[in-house]
Point group: C3
Chain length 96, copies 3
Amino acid sequence: MAAANAANLIKDVGEGGVEAPLLANGAAVEGLVPGSGLAAELAELSGKGVEILACRNSLRSLGMAEEDLPGFVRVVPAGITELVRRQQERWAYVKP
Amino acid sequence: MAAANAANLIKDVGEGGVEAPLLANGAAVEGLVPGSGLAAELAELSGKGVEILACRNSLRSLGMAEEDLPGFVRVVPAGITELVRRQQERWAYVKP
Amino acid sequence: MAAANAANLIKDVGEGGVEAPLLANGAAVEGLVPGSGLAAELAELSGKGVEILACRNSLRSLGMAEEDLPGFVRVVPAGITELVRRQQERWAYVKP
């Protein structure tokens, strides 16, 4: 859903017209691994400038290795802090 | 849930005391059609000044016709853009 | 999920470094009662300064008595109003 949201936003506003980082938090980090069924969609979004972020807390609690994530994924220490900090910086927030 | 949230907000703040647009995105657009079980509740909210919005991307991907929606529903090109733009304009966001 | 988010935020930023109120709305208020399985986790969060809020509308519609909630829970008249008002006051919003 988040990937579709980001794709629709870019399609509507125009590539380069908006920054739309996508943060995977909780169980959603499982969608980032190659073979999740979302790999091609995420790679395409990354190619369009969408920053793909993963929460380290979530990876750890699921026993996932950061090395198994595609190179375009950037791991942040805590997804929740990213969500709070970005909003304080006036980013909009969408929970799919 | 969103309809109940809007109704509770209006009841708490007072009719005319707040603007509470309700955006149906994704599968939620199916709740807008007459006969969804929500029709009366939505019509009542609309009568209280709640703007009822539907995402055109969602309607299309579900093969739904805009003509089948009640007259009080306003279709926006992309729900995701509406969510981002409104927050940039300082609207609060609630995801039910 | 909200309790885990609050705990992770405090762990990441440092106790005292952030205010992270937790609002239970809708069916989530059922998680606040002693014996819900979350009681110890919520008491610990409260001890770390996390304000635990419950929506009175939700309690009423579920037929729950405010007296049955732990003493550290503060009941607000309408959760939805709290969410909107806090965002207008520049609080960040996270929907778990």
